[in-house]
Each structure stands twice: as C-alpha cells, then as structure tokens.
Symmetry: C2
Subunit: 139 residues, 2 copies
C-alpha cells in the first residue's frame, strides 16, 4: 500500500469512527440527529434567523422549518418575528435547549479526552496544529 492510500485509509477510518460515535451519543438523548445539529449550531453561535441556520446546517430552509417546528414543540427553542422586518424569524434556544447544548458539548469534550489519552503531549500539539491548517485551508 502506498503512502497516499495509507493516509486515505486512516482518514476514512477515523471519519467513520467519529461518525458512529456521534450517532450513538445522539441516540442516548431525547433528540434526533437533525435536532441535535441545530442545537449545536444555535448553542455555538447564539440566536439566528431561519436562513442563517439553514446555511449552517447545509440544508434547505424547508428542511429547517420542519426541524425548528419540532424543536419548538419539544421546547428546546423558540421562534419570534422581528419588528423591523417581519419576514424574519429569530430562533433562540430555551433554558432546556441550552442545557441540552451544554450536555452535548460535554460529550464532545469526553471524546476529545479519550483521544488525547492515547497521544503524547507532543502528538497532541502536532494534531492541533495540523487540524488548524487543514480546517483553514483544505476544505
């Protein structure tokens, strides 16, 4: 196996591991995958309008409408229209939503710690540096 294939293999193994870890974490909660993603984004960036949320999620506004409908029904978020432009609806996490976000973030930290535990502190530094580069330039 050449060096390119080797890295390809490790990258996709890593991605798949990450992916199934995430799904299993979400399954332990009261949330569906799309609801969890929406809460993640709202938690990280604060209140935003439908369109912005849809862009962050990488889906259409139609899909986002359905997701936010459920978040509202389950009381994780609220919709409110803006006085200055009544087309716009701002989505905001409720207390319950913020709590779910904090909990989800804790799971993420746990996975990071699990990953760190198999690396030396030197490798830790290398990984952060490499990921920063990739995230900034590669996608």
């Amino acid at each position: 196996m050449n060096s390119l294939d080797e890295l390809t293999h490790e990258l996709f193994t890593f991605f798949n591991g990450f992916s199934s870890w995430e799904n299993s974490v979400i399954k332990t909660s009261d949330l569906t995958v799309s609801e969890a993603h929406a809460i993640e984004i709202l938690g990280n960036h604060g209140q935003m309008k439908m369109k912005t949320l849809a862009q962050h999620l990488g889906v259409t506004t139609g899909t986002t409408t359905v997701t936010v409908d459920r978040l509202e029904k389950k009381e994780y978020a609220t919709r409110e229209s803006v006085k200055e432009d009544r087309r716009i609806h701002l989505i905001t996490l409720t207390e319950k939503g913020q709590h779910a976000f904090a909990e989800h973030h804790q799971y993420h930290s746990n996975l990071t710690e699990q990953i760190l535990s198999v690396l030396s502190s030197e490798e830790n530094e290398q990984l952060v540096k490499i990921l920063k580069k990739i995230n900034a330039e590669a996608f």
Copy 2:
C-alpha cells in the same frame, strides 16, 4: 479557550468539513448515501453475507435488505444463496459496482491529496502516525 476546548473545536470542525464533502461527492453520483456506503464496504472487503454487511454498516439487517434491494435493481450488486447453508445470501459487486467503487475511491484519494497539499511532509508523517494510534485505540 483552554487547550481541550481548542482541540474539540478543531476536531468537530474537521469532522463537519469531511462530512459535507462526502455528502456532496455522493450527490454527484447515481447513488444514495446508504448505497454508496454499502459499495464502499463491499469494495474494500469483497463479497459478504447480509449480516456481515449490516454489521459493517452499523445498521439492522432489515435496513440492509432494503439497501441491497436497490443495489440489485440498479445492477451494482447481486445476491446469491449459498449451497451449504441456504439461509445465507452472499452479496457481490457487479462490474458496474466495482467501477463505482473505484470511482468513489478515486474521490477519496483526491481529498487526501487536497489535504496533503497544505501539509509539510513532516506533518504528513505525523498525521499518519497519530491517526493510526487513534484508530487503533481510541474508539
């Protein structure tokens, strides 16, 4: 931001980038996401029975039945029962399926090259080493 949060953030940014890249690649093909995953696994491991495929996919055999139904209809794979144990069905990629696998693998290599292009050869080696450790021990 502390060091743990920093790595968490970079890890999940990386994961999300990877994820949306993969979805957009699959969208350019004739395949759905679950079909593409099945082809990926069959291409990497060769022919296998339904149950094994389901385990690799991380879904139930019921779900796998549906996926393989479609792969068969679209002529990417075939089902054949085994003489020695007629409960077992072996799934095999057709020519067309193998071609799709090769094409998908090429896309993966392209992404890896794209990632490599922003890294020094030293960082490349570090990344492979780190990923191997994580994949072997962390999940």
